[in-house]
Symmetry: C2
Subunit: 138 residues, 2 copies
Amino acid sequence: MNNLPNMRLTTQRQIILEELGKVTSHPTANEVYDMVRRRLPRIGLGTVYRNLELMADSGIILKLEVGGTQKRFDATTEPHYHIRCTSCGRVDDIAMEVQEHINKAAEKASNYVILGHHVEFSGICRACAERRNTNPLH
Amino acid sequence: MNNLPNMRLTTQRQIILEELGKVTSHPTANEVYDMVRRRLPRIGLGTVYRNLELMADSGIILKLEVGGTQKRFDATTEPHYHIRCTSCGRVDDIAMEVQEHINKAAEKASNYVILGHHVEFSGICRACAERRNTNPLH
DNA sequence: TTATGTGCAAAACATTTGCAGGAGT
DNA sequence: ACTCCTGCAAATGTTTTGCACATAA
């Protein structure tokens, strides 16, 4: 959380933020790039990466380092948990209480100063469950 | 969890598993490569990747997809949580109870079939905390 | 003997960075 | 004006893969 003071309000930044706010799907940098490119065809992928990183640093958005190879971004900054489909990779928010109390247990069980925690559930999403029922292969 | 039937016991696999068992530090594939190379100088990095992946698939070891850019591997397969130092990136096991009950809450709060969950705490490790006390910069 | 596994090198991805020109303040 | 930012392309870092040879079963 820093940076805000001298961060310019550019068209690229506005649109990245708008597009990220439109979806609940936690897009990867490349997916954000595709979304933004529809409105700003000449934007560079580097600009998208730079700005997502910058916004995550400033606390305007959240950078998720969940399972899978790519990082994902989330316009919702209130603490919440995620669930990832092990079959298709999609990541959803999950509306359940944040277990603040486990931080104390972690403090006792480690030599660390605890800053927070994140829970990632894994499971099979509705669509993949149905696909498996229909098609017995896989 | 599959594959075990026709998986051959090669020297490379034995040594990878032994070296991973020696440490508690959740090494990256490249760190495992360095450890193994001291004993098998001609082993290829690809072999290390292939075997770590295969062993994780078979459930012999655990693949951690935690924060940071590289995947990490863990010889301990019993469910347990992890804590990552946001300053130096090291990842430790944390000896606290696994909160099985939150899976039920997640089942209710989502459209998913829940398979499990993982908790990753973030914090500052002892070494980094001391380094900061000594050196006020950073 | 023969299917699997290995070493090596190249390919495939994801992300970061240098730089010259462009745009917010 | 004076920084900061952008597009572009090249560089970097991580992981995967194709292939000819080697080896466990």
